[in-house]
Symmetry: D2
Subunit: 264 residues, 4 copies
């Protein structure tokens, strides 16, 4: 997989294959001319327009996969990894799979020894995600499951579980069954109504989840020009609210205990 | 290493050792009572106050290391990992080491097969960072170097290089010598003046760095209470500006080429 | 009323009266030495510490009134004035009065020919507000009313009506009775739950209010230092959500009409 | 002047005149049908599409004036009024006039007894602004001056002075000559470079200006839908930095004094 970055900042992600050509807004690049070049090389299209040949970052890959759903933005995906301690060797459940954008990020974070279990109920979405991950050679780290998660997850004692779906409050029982004690629960929802509904479920005392946090990340891009340094004029104003919690295990020694209150 | 999280949301990170005790604002916890308990267990202090026994996330560890310098916040550290494609197997240079907060995050991201080369010029800072990483068992993935980086880096062809120091524009030649073609360059500076000075250097054409981006991340924490959901009253208003670039290799075929312009 | 601004940026608002003294953290200033000086004068305390003698802005006055309630921040108050067309000559209703911070701002905006009708149900709050406005000589432009506004407002055809209270949805009938056709309705609430509850009432079709907008203003203060220009570290993260609407009059000519939908 | 607001949230500002028609995307409205209707009335276009007949707010007027320059956004204009104590009776200088957007806001704030002195060096811009203000009947409160302000201002002892131009640091001497002691100085610039350059001038000690503040306002609009309450997806990310200061008068009693330092 390569990223071609034109002088006017357009980006093209593709897999190099002998005999193929890349059509751009600034002329054609023959894959045969690119294969074997070192990363970072400048190359010219047939019209003489300059491009950089680069290794795609996770960010680049996620933005260029074929998708039919809203993807989780890199700013959010990266923060999810850190907050939920998703790193090499971890076992992580994700639902739903969607186009595989977050699946890709999770797979790159847990490889080579960890594993992602990705659940999806729509067969055509799952097929799209499998194709996206296969093109990147990341499907070896993911088990794709076609399932309504209302029926529960197959795994137990997973390190982290992330719900990227509209009604996360409907699956808290299934989620806590699959999580290890102390395991990381997370989800992302776009509206305040959904956050409130989820908090109501978490405050009900019916689920062993505590340490609840709600956060939002705003990315402010700037114009990278030395003489006119300033924030960009038009930006993404909202992607979603992130909610995190940890699985609680009943009080050691048999005494009944309340989950820690999250009220200040 | 464990995180003890009290019902009133205070956090204690410590390494469990037989015979020791943890003093908290809500009573004492004996390490012997905690060793062997499953993650997520509720435990009581000698005064009967409830705590959760949790595995610390990277975020928790970074916030609890002993430090004498400003650390890079988790929101920034996690975004740096994603933007700079820092993942298992990568070879990454960092300067300066500081208290080791970012070193820790980098080590957890590249392990087990990757490597972090961390440069620092102040011996006492380096010692602090080594102690912090050793306590976490992460020092095996890091080579600590005591060096003024004006003299250059030992490594070549590294995948990514991050500068966390006051005058990054002074070390762009050394940085590009160490980076592989297409390699990821990044730094974080707190003031607009520093960004402008760095952009001037990057625009000078003296360094093979292109695809420059400047971004800022704002974290908005919310009150996680279902009936009164709202942003927190007082928040961190600024941590720093993030600058990213990629190493460019001269035009293939011997023709002179200009680095791609970053002006829109 | 004067503002004394010390070299270390402390602020003191007081009314100058012969014979009195102002005690500060940097020594004493005798009112007799200040009376008659031009605005902008530098003066010294008895310890020789420099102060500026300034006319207080509306912002300064609001921040220095005696208060027992949360005040509306200047960033919000000023935006309310513009969005609700509150300017000289306007007749404006406000409820509740609280400590009189917004009352003061409204009075300064509608004077000399306009009028503020300010409703409050707690006698001691009203007394505090009356004292605050009287000290500033602004009580001539305000009619203070002690009343539970569930009983309705006395005025009709007012230009604008602002609700600064916990349950604005309970008073929409009373508010629309008092407003002129096309009049400006506004309110400020701190939680998302309150916004949602208010929007539900506005969407119910029971009240002649349309053109609904919800907005939030974030103020980002910077360090005003030429060599280290950067945002402040700790800031106010949230004050409240602003909701604006306009009073709709039934369709001209007797035909039934639906209020314009606010859904996009 | 009226605002016609369609059910699908399009806005039309026009001056009603007998015999004329308003063409909209949803049919024609005859001015004769609108003249004499109460504010807030619902009216139908010839195709039966509903509109609201409303009095325009200052915000509406500013957004609908004919313009050939970037205007100051309402969020910034309203905050400028409050921070600089611009209210009925005040005498205020503005440079440059531009299309007259801020002139309009200032005129509405100081009327009926105050006055705006508005300087502009480009004749065609001034003509545009005069036409814009005349259409609104606000030209009676403004003196338009065609002048390069490097030559100074005619007025003395004005209450406030606002610079909306590219190089405010070039006119600080002229500005402080025109301002009264303690008077309010303000300006808005889009880039960090301009803020830094202005702060350097203010820190030079050459101008009697103190109490310097730099602030930025971010407006976050929300989707006003009860069941899906959330921030808007795409927003304005930056308008400009606001800089405020106060005119200082030399130390009373003849002793030399330094202006208060603005460094913390």
């Amino acid at each position: 997989m390569v990223l071609l970055f034109s002088q006017d900042r357009k980006q093209f992600v593709t897999r190099l294959q002998p005999g193929l050509e890349l059509q751009t807004h600034r002329g054609v690049l023959r894959h045969d001319d690119l294969i074997g070049l070192p990363w970072g090389s400048q190359v010219l299209s047939h019209t003489g327009y300059p491009f950089l040949l680069l290794e795609p970052s996770t960010d680049d890959l996620v933005r260029h996969i074929r998708r039919s759903t809203q993807i989780i933005y890199p700013k959010d995906a990266s923060y999810i990894l850190l907050k939920m301690a998703i790193r090499p060797g971890r076992r992580v459940i994700e639902a739903g799979t969607g186009s595989g954008g977050l699946t890709l990020t999770l797979a790159q974070a847990v490889m080579p020894t960890g594993r992602v279990y990705s659940y999806e109920v729509r067969p055509e979405m799952q097929q799209l995600a499998i194709r996206n991950l296969s093109r990147l050679g990341l499907d070896a780290y993911v088990e794709f499951k076609l399932r309504d998660i209302a029926e529960g997850f197959d795994e137990r004692d997973v390190d982290a579980l992330f719900l990227d779906l509209r009604t996360p409050w409907d699956y808290l029982e299934q989620a806590t069954e699959a999580l290890a004690g102390g395991g990381f629960f997370g989800c992302l929802v776009p509206t305040a109504n959904q956050v409130i509904r989820l908090l109501q479920a978490l405050e009900s005392g019916r689920y062993p989840l505590g340490m609840v946090e709600v956060e939002e990340l705003l990315l402010r891009p700037y114009k990278a020009v030395a003489e006119r340094f300033r924030p960009q004029d038009r930006i993404v104003g909202h992607t979603g609210y992130l909610i995190f919690a940890r699985k609680v295990v009943p009080l050691a020694g048999g005494r009944a205990g309340e989950p820690p209150s999250d009220e200040e």
